[in-house]
């Protein structure tokens, strides 16, 4: 029978590539840890969800230069203003740590300043978001707690389904992915908001699924091959066997995410981007992190 295949029967020595992969992973993890520290001390591009403050999205009827808008708002007493233009549109997201401008709401102050500074350019407030500082703090703590708890729950599940070594290795691989994504977002200065946390957890889930699929095959082959071959070979054979599945699944998910990235609009763009990068990292880690870790551990034992 003939099948359409993207990979013919492969026999790539993945375990042999582990040291090169570990260098890359090391860089990603260090980047992620750095990003995490910066997030913790509030130096990253966090959304008002976490920092507290006000964010207003406005749409102008005529083209507007971002510099002019910033100058006008700064003059109008909106401190630490950050402005982001929505790609390809006359929409701007104005962000500040302020929650209150005197007796006025920040949103009203911003509207007032803009209408005074650009009387000829009509604008519309599309949406606004005001978050008090205590809310942001609770949210951040909850997000961190959610990530840690789900990771613990997953180790327990995998340790139960496979064994402890697999559980720990899968968790390290998942941490690797979450950190890598955090690091990449930090370096690119993308906004980390509540959707980003959702993306992190989704990717944790996706990467685990990938890892479980590989582990499942390793377990199956270990039982089959028993003492006849060494663990490195078993892992290599297993990864090669599931390689086409891994690639096809990633490819289809990436296709959908690409659609979301291109036409999903700006609200979904960052989310889709996080998932896109996350799927790439998650696929990579199930092959180059999760499996070699088992190899290292077993070889030593």
């Amino acid at each position: 029978m003939k099948f359409r295949e993207i990979t013919k029967k492969t026999s790539i020595d993945f375990i042999g590539l582990r040291n090169k992969a570990f260098v890359l992973s090391f860089v990603l993890v260090v980047l992620g840890l750095f990003g995490f520290v910066m997030v913790s001390i509030g130096k990253a591009n966090l959304s008002v969800d976490f920092t507290g403050g006000t964010s207003v999205q406005v749409r102008f009827s005529q083209p507007m230069a971002i510099g002019n808008l910033r100058a006008a708002l700064t003059q109008g007493g909106i401190e630490d203003v950050e402005i982001q233009q929505v790609v390809g549109q006359n929409d701007f997201i104005i962000k500040t740590q302020l929650q209150q401008a005197g007796a006025e709401k920040v949103q009203d102050r911003i509207s007032g300043v803009i209408s005074k500074a650009f009387p000829g350019n009509k604008f519309q407030v599309l949406g606004s978001d005001m978050v008090g500082p205590s809310v942001g703090k609770t949210l951040k703590n909850h997000a961190i707690l959610a990530i840690i708890l789900s990771l613990i729950a997953i180790v327990i599940y995998i340790a139960w389904r496979f064994n402890f070594v697999f559980g720990v290795a899968a968790t390290i691989a998942t941490f690797h992915d979450v950190l890598a994504l955090l690091g990449i977002f930090f370096v690119l200065h993308f906004e980390m908001n509540i959707l980003f946390i959702t993306a992190l957890l989704t990717i944790a889930g996706y990467s685990l699924t990938d890892t479980v699929v590989v582990y499942d095959r390793i377990r199956e082959n270990m039982a089959k091959m028993k003492a006849r071959s060494d663990i490195g070979q078993v892992i290599n054979v297993s990864i090669n066997e599931v390689l086409s599945r891994t690639l096809i699944t990633s490819l289809t998910v990436l296709l959908v995410l690409a659609a979301l990235l291109i036409i999903g609009g700006h609200v979904l763009f960052d989310f889709a981007f996080a998932l896109f990068i996350g799927v790439l990292v998650g696929t990579y880690s199930s092959i180059f992190v999760a499996s070699p870790l088992i190899y290292l551990w077993r070889r030593r034992a």
């Binding site: 029978m1 889930g205 479980v212 699944t249 289809t252």
Partner: protein, 530 residues
């Protein structure tokens, strides 16, 4: 085999039928008898999709406790004078009250506190010479009760205000969050400013006498027992607010108001819009007495420490009615009557989060999200057919079933569709594809090893099943935790994904497998297009 196939086919079609019934209201308007027997609710759209407001308020319970202590102190003062207890001092101290008496008054005071001041308990006492210092505070057990009671009353009051507001918000959400926070969601609200004004105001109504003779000194000081309050500013007035000096003591408060209605162009002397209030019988008696004793003076009508009007009392007013005038717009008057009717909040509320999404943004988002979902769907369908040929069609059918079930479940549970929810649907589709890929790759392996079509399909499904189950359960774990810790949009994502995972598993067992089994039983193929 065939028996179980029939069973599975029936199950699939029955569920499909139910899902379509629940989805029907989204496509056709049901009328007449149909409406009584079929579900008629459309899928709820979240704030991010249809626009609206999400407000998080914190009930300022500290201020409320402060008020309670104040009130108790007033009561104690009156009570001790009445009972003939000679006290040397009565002061607020921290969150309690300190009373100083001579030691011979001590027993009488203890007795008095125990019998007549149920809110307060003796927390500490000390003796200095002949003076006894007594610290009273509200019992800790009672504080908890007072606070939770206050949150409940605030919820109730806000709910009533919104229900009677005429905002036309179909599904407002008013719930408690955490210990003393109140979450209000108003999907599709048209006038966000007005909603903020209506919900956030405390609406503490007071009647106080204007102190005509009093003047404010250059340092801002006013005579003992007086206070300066700002007058309400009208919409088109310029300049700073004018102020008025009133007696501190409130003669009548809003809790004695039983009803309030808008009068347009009514009233004897007034042609503008005004609000008529009706007092309880006790309120009517007090109002009668107060107006009778103060004919010729001005009575200030104060809401949240702003003087709305201060008419001269021309004569004793019996019958328990009063009006508030003041050039209100019709909406202002409606909202004023609304808050007076429903009473004050037990404590002021602070707005700590306000997310407002305009309808344009929501429509943009939903259109783009749906477009992306459709494009993504088409890409997947095309890819599956390209790669797995005939079996790809089976997978696409399974995916389609999956989508209908998912949306049907959404409608049936009346879950709220949010933007992350749409992302969740897309992700579910991705997982559905993965399930099929896992199975098909296994079937291919079985076929390569030379098994018959039937054995290969059965073996493929069986071997892939373990992996599929593990993969879905790990994702489900994440989902449950997201649901517990997430708020608003994240909850929507978690719900979608959770429903999707369960449906995915169901379809993996019953959906595509049933189609394969049917094809194999019916046509007994010697090879499989996969």
């Amino acid at each position: 085999m065939l028996r179980s196939l029939r069973f599975r086919a029936i199950l699939i079609f029955v569920l499909l039928f139910i899902a379509i019934i629940f989805l029907l209201p989204n496509f056709v308007e049901l009328t007449g008898e149909w409406k009584d027997y079929l579900p008629s609710e459309k899928i709820h759209l979240g704030l991010d999709l249809q626009g609206g407001m999400r407000l998080l308020y914190q009930l300022d319970t500290a201020k409320m406790m402060d008020h309670i202590v104040d009130r108790n102190m007033e009561q104690m003062k009156d009570g001790m004078i009445r009972e003939g207890i000679r006290f040397m001092g009565l002061d607020k101290k921290g969150e309690g009250i300190e009373v100083v008496v001579k030691s011979d008054q001590r027993e009488k005071l203890y007795d008095f506190v125990a019998k007549q001041v149920p809110d307060m308990k003796v927390a500490a006492s000390r003796v200095e010479g002949d003076n006894v210092y007594l610290d009273l505070s509200i019992a800790a057990t009672q504080i908890v009760g007072l606070k939770s009671n206050a949150v409940e009353r605030a919820l109730e009051t806000i709910r009533n205000r919104i229900d009677q507001s005429g905002f036309g918000v179909r599904e407002p959400v008013i719930t408690q969050q955490g210990e003393s926070n109140i979450l209000v969601e108003l999907p599709g609200v048209k006038d966000p400013e007005r909603a903020l004004e209506l919900i956030g105001r405390t609406a503490q109504l007071e009647f106080k006498l204007v102190d005509e003779g009093a003047v404010q000194s250059s340092t801002g000081a006013v005579p003992e027992g007086d206070e300066v309050l700002p007058m309400r500013q009208r919409a088109n007035e310029t300049g700073g607010p004018s102020t008025i000096i009133v007696k501190k003591q409130a003669l009548l408060t809003g809790d004695m108001v039983t009803d309030a209605q808008v009068q347009i162009g009514g009233g004897q002397f007034h042609t503008g819009t005004q609000v008529d209030m009706e007092f309880s019988s006790e309120g009517a008696r007090v109002f009668d007495k107060v107006t009778g004793e103060n004919v010729g003076k001005r009575l200030a009508i104060i809401l949240d420490n702003v003087v709305y009007s201060a008419p001269v009392i021309n004569e004793r007013i019996s019958g328990g009615r009063a009006q508030i005038t003041g050039n209100f717009t019709v909406d202002e008057a409606k909202d004023l009557a609304n808050v007076l009717r429903n009473g004050a909040l037990p404590a002021p509320v602070n707005l700590i989060q306000n997310t407002t999404v305009g309808p344009t943004l929501g429509q943009d988002s939903i259109r783009k999200g749906v477009e992306a979902a459709i494009l993504g769907g088409i890409l997947i369908i095309a890819f599956m057919i390209f790669y797995y040929k005939g079996s790809g069609i089976v997978a696409d059918l399974a995916l389609f079933l999956n989508l209908i079930y998912l949306l049907g479940a959404f409608a049936a549970f009346q879950a709220t569709m949010t933007l992350p929810g749409i992302a969740g649907i897309i992700l579910t589709m991705g997982m559905g594809v993965d399930t099929n890929v896992l199975i098909f790759e296994r079937i291919r392996e079985e076929l390569r090893s030379g098994k018959t079509v039937r054995a290969a399909v059965d073996g493929g499904y069986m071997k892939a099943w373990v992996t599929i189950l593990d993969a879905h359960i790990t994702t489900l774990i994440t989902t449950v935790i997201l649901f517990i810790f997430g708020t608003g949009p994240i909850k929507g994502f978690a719900i979608t994904l959770a429903i999707g995972i369960v449906i995915n598993l169901f379809i993996a067992v019953f959906g595509s497998k049933a189609i394969f089994d049917w094809i194999i039983a019916r046509y007994k193929p010697r090879s499989l297009s996969i």
